[in-house]
């Protein structure tokens, strides 16, 4: 996404209202590895309800992508589709450029997609090491390899600069919310996750704890791990994300670098699905860049009308 992002940045400067999408596309493709995860035309119906329709989204490695949207916008559905809990009805998922089928949570985990849910899925009665290795404990002489586990857990926590934990042999139930989040993330990292999905990681945290988690997110992306964060807290999103994807009623209302958006425009996108008060060009360009980044299979971007910001939806619809 670096190239499209750079292009996004260039467009407002040039003042051009309708840059040629086609011009950036080949360049972008030529110099760019395929993004870690690409969603192409993802749709999901629950009976007559269209929870998701025609989602085109790239998740590049080493970037923090925030996924925002009002309640019912489809955030959870999208996350669950990526983590293999639900299968999309339409569209295709590419992992490192290859089409994949995420037919089960295990399939997603095996690829390297780790999802840290709100309830964290930690056992309060087990200590940090035991939680980090739960379900994949190494054995030595037919017994649990406690020393090996403790060393590996210690190293992962140290790599992530999680220094506030007093003892990695204390039960997780005695940790603060931020520390628990850190343990859950460290667990994902230790399992060699390449994409870490965080579901409302700061929802229940105080100010300092939130800062700890945001730093952890930075750590992840600086290690080349792709991060997808769902959050309601726009301050956190603005301070930690590289890119923001806004969902509105099951559609991708916008995907743009964080520099091109401000809180007001994001709120507007979340609540109305469009924003015409800020950077209309940037917003639209960013939007246009999404299908462009996809390359083959997504001609929609080319057919994008050059109208005002209202074009968000129309542009996406096939």
């Amino acid at each position: 996404m670096t190239t499209p992002s750079a292009a996004d940045g260039a467009r407002p400067a040039s003042g051009g209202r309708a840059p040629s999408p086609a011009a950036t596309s080949p360049a972008g493709r030529a110099t760019q590895e395929p993004p870690l995860l690409e969603l192409r035309g993802i749709g999901k119906n629950f009976g007559p309800v269209r929870a998701l329709s025609d989602i085109n989204l790239d998740i590049p490695a080493g970037k923090v992508t925030a996924l925002v949207g009002d309640n019912g916008a489809g955030k959870s559905t999208l996350i669950k589709t990526v983590s293999g809990i639900w299968q999309p009805d339409h569209g295709q998922i590419f992992w490192q450029g290859r089409p994949v089928s995420l037919h089960s949570p295990k399939a997603a985990t095996d690829l390297g997609i780790a999802t840290v849910y709100q309830d964290l899925a930690l056992c309060d009665n087990l200590d940090i090491v035991q939680n980090m290795f739960l379900g994949r404990e190494p054995l030595k002489h037919f017994q649990l390899d406690e020393i090996g586990m403790e060393l590996a857990a210690k190293k992962t926590l140290a790599d992530l600069s999680v220094v506030t934990v007093r003892s990695i042999r204390q039960p997780v139930g005695s940790l603060s919310g931020g520390q628990r989040q850190a343990v859950a993330v460290a667990k994902a990292v230790m399992q060699q996750a390449q994409l870490v999905i965080l579901d409302e990681p700061t929802a229940a945290l105080g100010v300092t704890q939130t800062r700890v988690v945001l730093e952890l997110i930075d750590q992840l992306s600086s290690r080349g791990i792709a991060v997808l964060v769902i959050s309601h807290n726009l301050n956190d999103v603005m301070s930690s994300a590289d890119r923001i994807a806004v969902l509105y009623l099951g559609r991708l209302a916008a995907i743009a670098p964080v520099e091109d958006l401000d809180t007001a425009s994001v709120v507007e996108l979340m609540t109305t699905g469009r924003s015409d008060r800020t950077h209309p060009v940037a917003g639209r360009a960013a939007h246009a860049s999404s299908p462009l980044g996809s390359g083959p299979g997504s001609p929609a971007g080319g057919g994008m009308p050059g109208g005002d910001a209202m074009g968000y939806h129309r542009g996406e619809a096939p």
Binding site: C123, L126, I147, K154, V163, S167, I168, S174
Partner: protein, 432 residues
């Protein structure tokens, strides 16, 4: 832990502390270099709800002192050995309960599972070698556990109800089996096999008692020291040497006391009776094997995980149904051990066996010992300590000539005290 606010690394006023703490990420636990520090850490653990075996140990000591003051026979070797043998069913059934209590389940049927297992053994020993009979009895208990486990996991029935049905049904089965056996008079099957009798009534020779004790203590000490050394070699936090040595000393003293008590003559004026009973070794063996299973294997780890957060365990790929069913199988198996030991002590198995009372004492033993009723917390040693408490009350009140009613009432009060201690310490632990 719970009361502290963790500063982010950049907060200036805590810079030094944090640097120190960061350095300790390599060894994050506050390194206890001395006995004093270790004691303080333990106290903090207790305050944070990980009281473990401490309250029950203190309670046991208090109960022993009380009964000894009231009746000086209480601590006589003869009575102590008697107490140990009396306590065996409570202890072993308590261990059976630990498996399912850790999952947050309960098994009300263990008393009669054990009794039916004993009936099968008593029946079989007329025709097959004693050890085959014992294996058949053990298998019986395991099968009951398997059936309950399958009903509970596959049909998602509550364990309380399934095993309550088991309690009733197996009591009926026991009565039918004893009546149909056609052995002996009335409602009992006599067991006249020397080996099975010796499980509880046989004793080691005094010399053998010392040798076995020394071997066990030496092996345990070697394991403790070796584990410490491996941890130290890996650069991990290791308990201070003084603490490990203290543990070894405590084990050695306990071993010496048991052997001294066992080897003292507790016979009559005519016949000397001395030696550590076999049953002590059997209970110890069960304790060690189940402790290793719970503490050092994936199966054990998953039991704790399911008891703590079943959803987390499921997401981690743990097969909940398999582990739960296995726990009930092991519970039934352990119940069968208890039933066989009970039959061995009584020399027969009769329809009077009160499995309903046994199971209540067993759950009481596990909970008094510190096992949590809602899963996730507890160890096998808790059942041993809790079982000793129950046995001490049972035995001591008997010595004082008090009625069965008093035993029930006192046991209930101790049980209430135990859960109160647990609940209070846990309240202090609730995270911020």
């Amino acid at each position: 832990m719970s009361t502290e606010t963790h500063q982010p690394p950049e907060s200036a006023e805590h810079g030094d502390d944090l640097a120190a703490e960061a350095a300790q990420t390599a060894a994050p636990e506050v390194l206890a270099n001395s006995l004093g520090e270790y004691t303080r850490m333990q106290l903090r653990r207790i305050r944070s709800g990980e009281s473990g075996a401490l309250p029950v140990t203190i309670g046991l000591i208090a109960i022993v002192i009380y009964f000894q003051v009231r009746n000086s026979l209480f601590l006589s070797p003869g009575n102590l050995v008697n107490l140990l043998i009396q306590g065996t069913p409570f202890i072993v059934l308590g261990m059976a309960e630990v498996f399912v209590l850790l999952l947050g389940e309960i098994d009300l049927s263990v008393g009669y599972s054990g009794a039916v297992a004993a009936v099968i053994m008593a029946w079989a020993v007329f025709t097959v070698p004693w050890w085959v009979a014992i294996l058949l009895g053990l298998a019986t208990g395991a099968v009951f556990g398997l059936v309950f486990g399958i009903l509970i996991t596959r049909l998602r029935l509550p364990s309380f109800v399934v095993t309550l049905a088991g309690l009733l049904g197996l009591q009926g089965l026991m009565i039918v089996l004893v009546a149909r056996s056609g052995h002996g008079p009335g409602g009992s099957i006599p067991i006249s096999n020397k080996y099975i009798d010796d499980l509880t009534t046989g004793n080691l020779s005094p010399a053998a008692g010392w040798i076995v004790m020394v071997v066990i203590v030496a092996a345990a000490a070697a394991i403790l020291l070796l584990r410490d050394r491996q941890r130290r070699a890996a650069g991990l936090v290791t308990p201070p040497v003084s603490v490990t040595l203290l543990k070894i000393v405590v084990m050695a003293v306990a071993g010496i006391v048991v052997v001294l008590v066992g080897n003292a003559d507790r016979g009559t004026a005519l016949v000397a009776l001395r030696g550590v009973p076999w049953v002590v070794l059997i209970v110890l063996g069960v304790l060690v094997i189940w402790t290793v299973l719970l503490g050092r294997t994936r199966f054990g780890r998953y039991i704790y995980a399911i008891g703590g957060n079943a959803e987390a365990a499921r997401r981690a790929g743990v097969s909940l149904n398999l582990i739960r069913t296995m726990a009930f199988v092991l519970c039934g198996l352990t119940a069968a051990i208890a039933g066989i030991l009970l039959a061995s002590r009584l020399g027969s198995i009769s329809t009077d066996t009160d499995g309903g009372q046994l199971v209540l004492f067993a759950v009481a033993a596990a909970v008094i010992g510190g096992t949590h009723l809602f899963g996730g917390h507890g160890k096998m040693i808790n059942a041993l300590l809790g079982g000793l408490v129950v046995a001490a009350i049972y035995n001591g009140l008997g010595l004082l000539g008090l009625s069965a009613a008093a035993t029930y009432i006192v046991t209930s009060l101790v049980l209430l005290a135990a859960v109160t201690v647990d609940a209070l310490s846990r309240r202090g632990a609730s995270p911020t």
